[in-house]
Structures are given as C-alpha cells and as structure tokens.
C-alpha cells in the first residue's frame, strides 16, 4: 500500500514509453544545447557562412555580453519575478561611466547636458582615465537601481513586472536627460580594451601573399569572454553551492514555506534584484566598450526580448523555483545563433523581432508543458 503510493502513478501502457521519452528529453539539462546544435547542423548546408570562423567568432562576441545580463535575469526569474529594467540600467550606467572616465568632452555636443560642468568638462570626466574608480561608480549606480526595485517588490508587495516597468521608463528617461540624448565618446583605451581586446586569437587560412603578408585574425579569448565565463562560473557556484543560492530557489519554489523555514525572504528578494542590476551594469561595460561610447539608449527596445527570451528558452521557469546558470548559457547560445542565422538570411530586424517574440511564446509554452509533465509524473 505504502509502496504503491510512493511510486509514480503509471500512465496508460500505450502512452507510457513515448511520454517518458518526451518527458526525459524536455526535462534534460542539455535539451537546449542539443536543440542549438541541431538547428546549427540543419542550417549549415543551406547557409554555409554560418560556419565560417569569422561568423563563429562574431557569434561568440555577441553571446558574452548577453550572457552576462541574462545571468542576472535568471536569478530574478528563479524567485518568480522579472526584471524589465535591465536595459535601462545599461543605458544609465554606460552613460554615467563614460561621462566619468572620458578623456575629453566636446562642448559642442555636451554643453547643454545637465552633467556638463558637473561630471564632465572639456578636458574629460572627473575621474578621467581612472578605469577602476569609474567601474566602481557604475556598479554603485546599478546597485542603487536594483536596491530600489527590490525594496519596492519585497517590502511593499508590488508586482515585480510593474515596478521594473516603471523603473525601465524612469531610469531610461533619466539616462537620456543626463546627456540630452547625446553619446559620450573619448573613452580611455583601457576601457575600450574590455570590449575589444583579444587575449588569444586564432589564425586560420593561408598567408595572403599579395602585398603585405597577413592572416585572417579571429578573436577567440577576449576580455569579454573572460568576464562572462568568470561571472557565469561564479554565479553558478553562488546558486548551486551556497546557502544563499539554495534560499533563492526556496523563495521561488514556495515563498511561505521558505519564510517559515527561516529563509530571510525579503532580504533575498532585494539582493536578487541588486544582483540583476549589477549584471546589467557589467553588461553595460562590455557593450559600451565595444561601441567605444556611453549611450543612454543602449539597452532600449528589443534588447529586453533577447534577455528574457534567452533566459526562458534555457529552461528557467517563469513561475519561479527552477533556474540554472547552465540552462541560461545554452539559452543565450541558442538565441544568439538564432539572431545570427536570421541576419545571415538577410531578414529585416522586424522579422527577427517577430521570430524572437514567437520564440519567447514557444518557450513559455514549453515551460507550461514541462511543469505539467513534472506534475503528471509525480
């Protein structure tokens, strides 16, 4: 009797093997990676450029900053929330950081900006050239936004999507106001190197003989890669190997049970939103360094779609309680490959946005299906 109750209730015999196989595939940690590889291999014959070293290097360079931002989103979704304000944080911190460390300020561009004469002057920002102080200031600004988001969600029980929607608008507007919608250039080389610098490159192909001996250069290990991989490993350890990480999962799985079990639920929520903003800030460094400018509109529009899409397709549940860094790594790979392939097919950005919207929807459906499968098996 007891033994029977502890066993999964068997489904009808005919449906069982198929359902099992399907369930195992869907619930596997590696599902999205297989999906990505399958997609790549299917497209390769049709779209040979997809596999060229140049394209693969490009693909990876797009993946790193997105991964950094999506890692933060993974934590927020794991507690059952959502952070729509990450893009705005990127706009704000990239602008702020650039203004602080720029080595020159062109008055014809910036003299109307409120920060002119306050943070940035003709001969540069107040921290001109001081990379580390600038980064610290950016992280502080990012953390502040996350702190406000988290506090409103945790202590006033406001819905996360509404709070972060409001901060998406206000923080974004604030960033634009800071420079009156101008970009800030003249970034120090040390900063730009974070986005562009290569550490290890791969040289492929024959020497091109004609005039100057030269080989094609493909960046493999960049600072961006280093930052993203380090952060992913660190956050993986944080989620899987620390009490904090276990408590994050507990808050998402059952907030009331977590509170009764002594989990500091509100503190966890606040910290997760701070973490999300900090990840967005690191993303801002990588994006703006690659762009060689601080841009208040950097994370606007469909960027949000990429972050949410990559996280959800990876397998992190919108309902909370389920999230893994590895899933998000695969989700980001899938999403970047998807955008990249659509670009190579010469589709317009609007088509690409449409496909991304569809993918998010599909991912959400997958999430519903996974949840039902799990329940059905129990």
């Amino acid at each position: 009797m007891t033994a029977m109750l502890t066993q999964p209730v068997p489904a009808t015999p005919a449906a069982r093997p198929l359902r099992r196989t399907l369930a195992r595939a869907l619930l596997s940690d590696w599902f999205v990676l297989w999906l990505t590889l399958a997609y790549f291999l299917i497209l390769l014959p049709v779209l040979p450029t997809l596999g060229t070293p140049a394209n693969l290097a490009n693909l990876l360079s797009n993946a790193w900053p997105l991964l950094v931002v999506a890692l933060g989103q993974t934590f927020v979704m794991t507690i059952g929330g959502i952070d729509l304000s990450q893009g705005a944080v990127i706009g704000l911190t990239s602008t702020l950081g650039a203004a602080l460390i720029a080595t020159a300020g062109p008055p014809e561009v910036l003299s109307k900006a409120p920060i002119w004469g306050l943070l940035i002057f003709e001969d540069g920002g107040v921290l001109a050239g001081q990379l580390w102080l600038g980064l610290l200031a950016m992280l502080l600004a990012g953390a502040l936004v996350g702190l406000v988001n988290g506090t409103l969600v945790a202590w006033l029980d406001m819905p996360a999507f509404m709070v972060t929607l409001v901060s998406l608008i206000t923080v974004g507007a604030f960033a634009i106001w800071l420079t009156q919608s101008e970009n800030i250039r003249n970034l120090p080389d040390s900063y730009v190197a974070l986005g562009k610098g290569e550490i290890v490159s791969v040289y492929i192909g024959p020497k091109e003989e004609p005039q100057i001996p030269r080989r094609q250069v493909h960046e493999l290990v960049t600072y961006a890669a280093l930052v993203a991989v380090t952060l992913a490993v660190a956050l993986h350890l944080l989620l899987e190997r620390t009490a904090f990480g276990r408590q994050v999962l507990a808050v998402g799985a059952n907030r009331r049970a977590a509170e009764i079990a002594g989990v500091p639920v509100r503190r966890i929520i606040v910290l997760v939103f701070v973490l999300s903003s900090l990840c967005a800030t690191v993303g801002a460094v990588l994006y703006s360094a690659r762009l060689e400018a601080g841009r208040p509109t950097l994370g606007e529009g469909t960027f949000l779609l990429d972050v949410i899409g990559a996280t959800v397709i990876g397998g992190t549940s919108l309902f909370g309680g389920k999230g893994k860094v590895l899933w998000t790594v695969f989700g980001v790979l899938f999403f970047v490959l998807l955008s990249n392939s659509l670009n190579l097919m010469n589709l317009s950005t609007f088509h690409i946005d449409m496909v991304k919207g569809g993918v998010i929807l599909a991912a959400a459906l997958l999430d519903v299906a996974r949840t039902r499968l799990l329940r059905g098996m129990a």
């Binding site: 033994a3 502890t6 009490a243 276990r246 408590q247 059952n254 049970a257 509170e259 079990a261």
Partner: protein
C-alpha cells in the same frame, strides 16, 4: 412523510480505506437534521458526495425518490441543493443584490433585454432578504458588511435559488452571538417555509436547539439516529466518541523533566487570541485541543513570529521570543504547519533540498556549501524519520505519500536542534501505519529533551500522546488536564463550554 434525500448503503473508499461505509438514512422534507461527529468521522466526505465533488464507491442516493448521482457542483445546485460553508463563495466587490443574482440577472424587457433590470433586481433582492427578516440594503457592497451579514447573504442566495435542501457546515465559527441569533432565526424561517436543512456543527447546544432529528457519524458509519428529544448533550458526546483507543500510541518512554522550555504569559492579539498562558517543560508533550477556529493555529503562528501579538509575553528557556521566524528558529523553535502543501514543502523540489532548507546555513564548508555534509545530513534524516524514498537528491517531494511527506516536514527541523517543536495537525492526511511512526518520532524527540506543543482536532490522538492537554475555545485557554485526569467527556465538554454558555 416522504424522504427528500435518501442514502442506500452509501460508501466511499479512498485507496481502499473507507471514509464512509454502508450508510443508510432518510432525510425527511421540511425538517432540520443535525449531523454531528468528530473530525474525520466522514461528515465532509458525505457532504462532498451530496455536493457532486466526489462520487460514492458503494450504494446510491435518491433525491425525491429518483436516483441521484451528481457529476459536478452544478448538478447538485440544479437539483436544488445549496451549501453554506464558513468560507463564503461571494464577491466582495459587488453589491448584495448582485451577489444574489450573479448567475441569472433579471433583464429589462423588449429591446433593452441585454441590460440588467436594476430596479427589479433590487426589489426581488429586498423580497428575498425580507423573507429572512434581514434589513440589509440590497445596494450595499459586500466588503462593507460583517462576516455574519455576509453569511446571511449566502443563505439568501440559496433561498433565491429555490434550494430545497440547504446544508450548513460549521456556519457560526466567525459570528458574534448576535449574528448567530439572526442566523438561527433565519434557519427557523427556512423550516417554516418548508425547506429542508442539514446542520453540521461542533457546537452541540446549537445542534440541539435547531434540529428536529439527530444523526451521529463515527469512523464513517452512522452510529446513532433519532428525534432530538432522544439526544441530550451527554448522549451526543457518548455516541460520537465511544470507541477504543487504538494501540498506535507509544507508551511514553521518559517522564518530563523539570525545566520549562516555553512559558507564555497573558498573550493576546485582538480578534484572535485572548490572555493565553501556558508552559511546556523539557521532555513534555503538551496537547492543544479545541474546535476548528478556536485559535489554536493562530496561537502557533503568533508564537512563531508570523503574526503579531499585542500584549503578553512568550519566553523560550527564559529568553523572550523576538523577531520573525528566522530569529525564533535560531532561538530554538520549530514549526510543523497544518498545511503541508502551502506552508511546509517545496512540492517540486527534491527531498534533499526540502530536508536541508532550515539548516542550510549550518551546512557550509570552507568553500560554500559542503555537498558531502548535505548528502550525509539528508541520509541521516532519512534514517531518523524512517522515510520511505528511493532517491533523495532527485525524487520530488510531490511523489511521496502523505505520511512520508509529513516525515520530511518534521525531519527538516531536526538539524536546527530545536528546543520546542510546535506541531499543528501532525497526522492530518496520514495513514495509520505512518501515523504510529510519527507518534514514535515525537516520543523520541521528547525523550531527548525537547518540548512539544501538539495541536490536534483528534482528541484520542492527544490523549494517547500527551502528558497534559490544554483546551482552547474562542481564542482562550479554558482548561488544562493532566494525563492522570484525562477524561474524554470532560475535555470535549470544556471545548464546548463557551459555546454552551452563549446559547444558554
């Protein structure tokens, strides 16, 4: 006299365990039947079968002489059966009249047919309310009404639906004496209007006052039935309990030692509990008995720091209890909640994650969590609580039986080394085999020096397990009994005391 509703050999098994067995009874039209029995006697299952929530596994029901097998709540409603629960199915943002007519608004005539005829609705609502002698304005929104008034609106809704049989399930738990009086007048009115009523309550004096006939359930069987004149309150209680204490309880292995673990002095929270004082000693199991809604679970929540207290003092080993659950767990409290699913477990998470959650911060190694210690802890807990599970790391708690789920809920507290366990209905939904294991576990916890505060609606469970039993009623501790003086009738009588006093 014809029977409105007749049960013929009705029975219901849950996984082979009978909840209701071989029940045959006629419910005559135009009468009030009082249905009594202890918690778990089968009243809810019987009501669920009448209401179309669950189907009987044996026997059948006849409604006005015709076979009656409702497949849904809608079928029962369509037949003319209405339920009034303590939890109301009303819409607080709508008016009284709208709540009455929500599934069939009166319409305007002719071309204006799409529109609600508000005047007709108001008039007809006033009419229905007048039948209950209710002076509620039909246009008031529900959120401005008291709980008692809302209950009366629910009755009005049943009346408006022309229900022939109205079933009241513990309707007075959140009513003031005055509201209770109005409810009783309304029920008298129903009887006068020829309606049939089944009245279920733990407040026996109310049952006696209202009913024409009494039916008593025990262990799923009908053990007594007859006109109310044959049942005085002592006989009701006798009929309800009369059974042997099963041999599932441990013989207490160690007598309680001296030092008090928990001391509560004059604890009060307005509207919830009033002037509660009690003491639990090391190695002692104190039972807290009371009817549903007597404030037992609320007291537990206050002790755990989940709800605030206004006055009074609670100490653990001499130190005042302060802060939220997190602080109180550190001080040595553990809380097994009454709802496993909502407040006890992360259903889709693994057994191991559930078992190690409260003590997770103690399982750190030099580099983050120590995976070996976590696995060892979970493994040790599995043995301590005798958990029947295959794979602690992968199996979700959802896949366990109720008894094993409950072992997880209790076991997860052990690594925090609590000095006082609060266990709220620790054996609810747990089969007999697992029950005795859980009792044994509780006995061992006490033997190791912890204090246990056990809340239960099942008196024989408390009598089998506890060193002392305190009885709560309407938010107060009204009596405390030592093990030597346990007397089922006196304990039940004191749980009913306040209610009887009100009715007198």
């Amino acid at each position: 006299m014809t029977a409105l509703l007749r049960f013929e050999g009705l029975g219901k098994d849950w996984f082979g365990v009978p909840a209701v067995r071989d029940l045959s009874l006629d419910i005559p039209e135009g009468r009030v039947l009082g249905l009594i029995g202890e918690n778990g006697a089968g009243k809810s299952t019987l009501m669920n079968m009448i209401g179309g929530i669950t189907a009987p596994t044996h026997g059948r029901m006849l409604w006005r002489g015709q076979p009656y097998a409702p497949a849904s709540a809608a079928d029962a409603r369509a037949a003319g059966i209405a339920f009034i629960h303590q939890e109301l199915n009303l819409f607080t943002n709508l008016t009284v009249a709208e709540n009455l007519f929500i599934d069939g608004f009166p319409r305007r005539p002719g071309l204006l047919r799409p529109f609600i005829d508000r005047r007709a609705m108001r008039d007809r609502a006033a009419e229905v309310l007048a039948r209950l002698a209710l002076d509620l304005p039909p246009e008031r929104t529900l959120d401005s009404l008291s709980p008692g008034e809302r209950q009366l609106v629910e009755i009005a809704r049943a009346l408006h639906h022309d229900a022939a049989l109205i079933i009241f399930d513990e309707p007075t738990t959140s009513l003031t004496p005055r509201e209770t009086d109005r409810l009783f007048q309304a029920i008298e009115g129903l009887r006068a209007a020829g309606k049939t009523v089944i009245y279920i309550s733990h407040i026996l004096a109310d049952v006696q006052r209202l009913s024409d006939g009494i039916a008593v359930l025990r262990d799923g069987r009908l053990v007594g039935e007859g006109p109310v004149a044959d049942f005085d309150i002592p006989r009701m209680i006798r009929t309800m309990i009369g059974r042997d204490l099963a041999a599932v309880y441990p013989s207490r292995t160690a007598p309680p030692r001296g030092r008090p673990v928990l001391e509560v002095q004059g604890l009060s929270a307005p509207g919830v509990i009033e002037d509660v004082s009690l003491t639990v000693r090391e190695g002692e199991i104190l039972g807290l008995f009371g009817l549903m809604g007597s404030g037992r679970s609320e007291l537990a929540r206050i002790l755990m720091g989940l709800d605030p207290a206004m006055r009074g003092d609670a100490r653990l080993l001499g130190h005042p209890l302060r802060g939220g659950p997190r602080d109180r767990i550190r001080q040595g409290l553990a809380f097994v909640t009454e709802n496993r699913r909502e407040e006890g477990l992360m259903m889709d998470a693994s057994i191991r994650d559930n078992l190690t959650l409260p003590a997770i911060e103690r399982l750190r190694g030099p580099l983050g969590l120590d995976a070996d210690r976590i696995a060892d802890t979970a493994q040790a807990l599995r043995e301590t609580v005798r958990l029947k599970a295959q794979d602690l790391a992968r199996q979700p708690v959802r896949s366990l039986s109720g008894g094993n789920q409950q072992k997880v809920v209790i076991g997860k507290w052990l690594p925090t080394e609590p000095r006082l366990f609060i266990l709220d209905e620790p054996t609810r939904g747990v089969d007999v085999g697992a029950r005795s294991e859980i009792y044994g576990l509780m006995d061992r916890l006490a033997a190791e020096g912890a204090g246990l505060l056990v809340i239960s609606s099942e008196l024989d469970e408390l009598m089998g397990l506890c060193d002392r039993i305190s009885v709560m009623s309407r938010g107060e501790v009204v009596a405390t009994f030592d093990r030597a003086r346990f007397d089922e009738r006196r304990i039940i009588a004191s749980a009913f005391r306040q209610a009887e006093g009100d009715a007198a």
